[in-house]
């Protein structure tokens, strides 16, 4: 579903990824483990098309994504929840979730269907829905970012350090939501980054460890 094949990426001249190969099968749940600065976020951003590789190939659903503009990822059913949430602060939570679906040109009925699905998986979002995204705490924002990613991510979602900065209680709830996700949407591929391998063990089937831009 999501593949990096020998991908190298440099940011401002400094190499961040060196020949990274990574495979997430359709419906697979994969963890990408590494310390900060190892290249986890860069890997995800490269898969999202936000960074261009200097070498190697990026495959989305088996197709070479080199010529695919970044904004087409959502069209292919790939959702992305960035590490720092990146919600649109002036919009309500609901508007944040609906926007990507509207951009894809989904029908109103389809949007409502997906909203119901996401609300079912993440019941916390129901009460948050009318609130302004800018006023949420960091932990709540992470939940909303996950919900927003699921609105378009029907084939795969990429979650960047979802547990980073969450207090233990909230981290537990987030992990439960991920378990529900796994049971409810078995065909959905999930790629999660984390710096602590222990945390994801019960949630994933495969683990890649990245160190200094290389898969170890």
């Amino acid at each position: 579903m999501l593949d990096l094949e020998g991908v190298s990426v440099a940011i401002a001249g400094a190499p961040v990824l060196r020949g990274v190969t990574l495979h997430v099968p359709a419906g697979g749940r994969v963890a990408l483990i590494g310390r900060n600065g190892a290249g986890k976020t860069t890997s995800l951003r490269t898969l999202m098309g936000l960074l261009a590789p200097s070498a190697g190939r990026v495959l989305i659903g088996g197709e070479d994504a080199a010529r695919l503009p970044a904004h087409h990822r959502a069209r292919l059913g790939i959702g992305y929840a960035p590490e720092d949430r990146r919600l649109f602060g002036g919009f309500s939570v609901r508007e944040n979730m609906v926007l990507p679906a509207e951009v894809l040109g989904l029908t109103g009925a389809e949007i409502r269907r997906r909203l119901d699905l996401v609300f079912g998986l993440l019941p916390e979002l129901v009460t948050l829905a009318p609130r302004r995204a800018g006023g949420l705490s960091g932990g709540q924002g992470k939940m909303v970012a996950l919900g927003r990613a699921l609105m378009v991510g029907v084939r795969a979602v990429m979650l960047d350090e979802p547990f980073q900065g969450l207090a233990p209680a909230l981290a537990l709830r987030y992990a439960e939501a991920l378990k529900r996700l796994r049971d409810a949407l078995p065909e959905l591929a999930i790629l999660i980054t984390e710096s602590n391998p222990e945390l994801l063990r019960p949630l994933v089937e495969a683990t890649f460890v990245i160190e200094r831009g290389e898969i170890a």
Binding site: G49, L50, R86, R148
Partner: protein, 308 residues
């Protein structure tokens, strides 16, 4: 006080009417500048050149032989749209697209260079002699405005048309940005370009669209101004610095704020024109400095979100 008003009442009325018309034009230009800055994060120094070229194009088109008088108004719109649709996309695609990742000073200078180029281009096409074409103003005629027990004859063009167009732009733009999908997409790109891209939004298309819209708005401001004044080299420069003052005073990313500030500055300037002509150019900046002394983020700007 009363005697002052007896002597100067008419002048004051005229200044207010003039100021309102002028504010409408200033708003058209600065709201476009503000929109472009919000989305592209580039402060476009050449924005004033669109105004100037819109004005010259409108005067030239309107001056063509055989044009019926009623066409003088649609021609203004046509000229603005033509100028915006030609210059906007070309400049965005060829020039700006290369510099979105650069430091602000580089972006400023690129548009500054563009300003210099367009400035000479205007002189090449329209020369340095004043150009004017006031068919539209004459065609609409004047109306007597009662003021303080007296009447002021004033052109309908300036009294109704200019503020009307500005108001329609204000309401239309606010509605568009808040209520339509394209509008919300533009807002999303303004807030966070990369997140918007990840949501499936084509930021490049949004940039192109926004820049073109800004160019059309500036050109429309110029086209609407053209029947009320004679056009000389340098009007673009004058307009851009005034628009800078408006958006800095209003606060960045404000539409309604830009309207109120344009009104404030437009009225202030036109009162100065009648009562202290040597201060005409200075007044907008005095207003700006006074406002920023009290509110460093501008009249309506939100204080930067803090993050530590």
């Amino acid at each position: 006080m009363i005697t002052w008003f007896d002597e100067n009442g008419l002048l004051l009325g005229l200044a207010l009417l003039d100021g309102l018309a002028y504010a409408a034009l200033v708003f058209m230009v600065s709201v476009g500048l503000n929109l472009v800055f919000g989305v592209l994060r580039v402060l476009n120094v050449a924005h004033g050149s669109f105004y100037a070229i819109g004005a010259y194009a409108a005067a030239s088109l309107g001056g063509m032989a055989g044009l019926p008088v009623w066409a003088s108004l649609p021609v203004l719109l046509l000229a603005a749209v033509l100028v915006g649709l030609v210059l906007g996309p070309v400049i965005e695609r060829i020039l700006l697209r290369r510099i979105y990742a650069e430091e602000p000073v580089i972006q400023l200078l690129v548009t500054f260079a563009l300003f210099m180029i367009l400035e000479d281009a205007q002189k090449l096409v329209w020369g340095v002699q004043p150009v004017s074409n006031d068919v539209a103003v004459r065609w609409l005629g004047t109306v007597d405005v009662p003021f303080a027990g007296d009447v002021i004859p004033f052109t309908k063009y300036q009294l109704f048309l200019l503020p009307g167009v500005a108001l329609a732009t204000l309401v239309g733009l606010a509605w568009f940005l808040r209520r339509t999908l394209t509008g919300r997409v533009i807002v999303a790109v303004t807030v966070d370009r990369e997140a918007a891209t990840a949501m499936g939004i084509d930021a490049k298309k949004v940039f192109l669209l926004t820049f073109t819209a800004g160019a059309v708005l500036a050109a429309l401001g110029g086209a609407l101004a053209s029947p009320t004044t004679s056009l000389v080299p340098g009007i673009g420069a004058q307009t851009i610095v005034l628009s800078f003052a408006v958006i800095a005073t209003a606060g960045l990313g404000q539409i309604e704020g830009a309207a109120l500030t344009a009104l404030l500055i437009g009225l202030g300037r036109s009162v100065a024109v009648y009562f202290a002509p040597e201060l005409e150019v200075v007044v907008p900046y005095i207003i700006m400095v006074a406002v920023l002394l009290v509110r460093p983020q501008g009249l309506f700007g939100a204080a930067e979100a803090r993050r530590v």
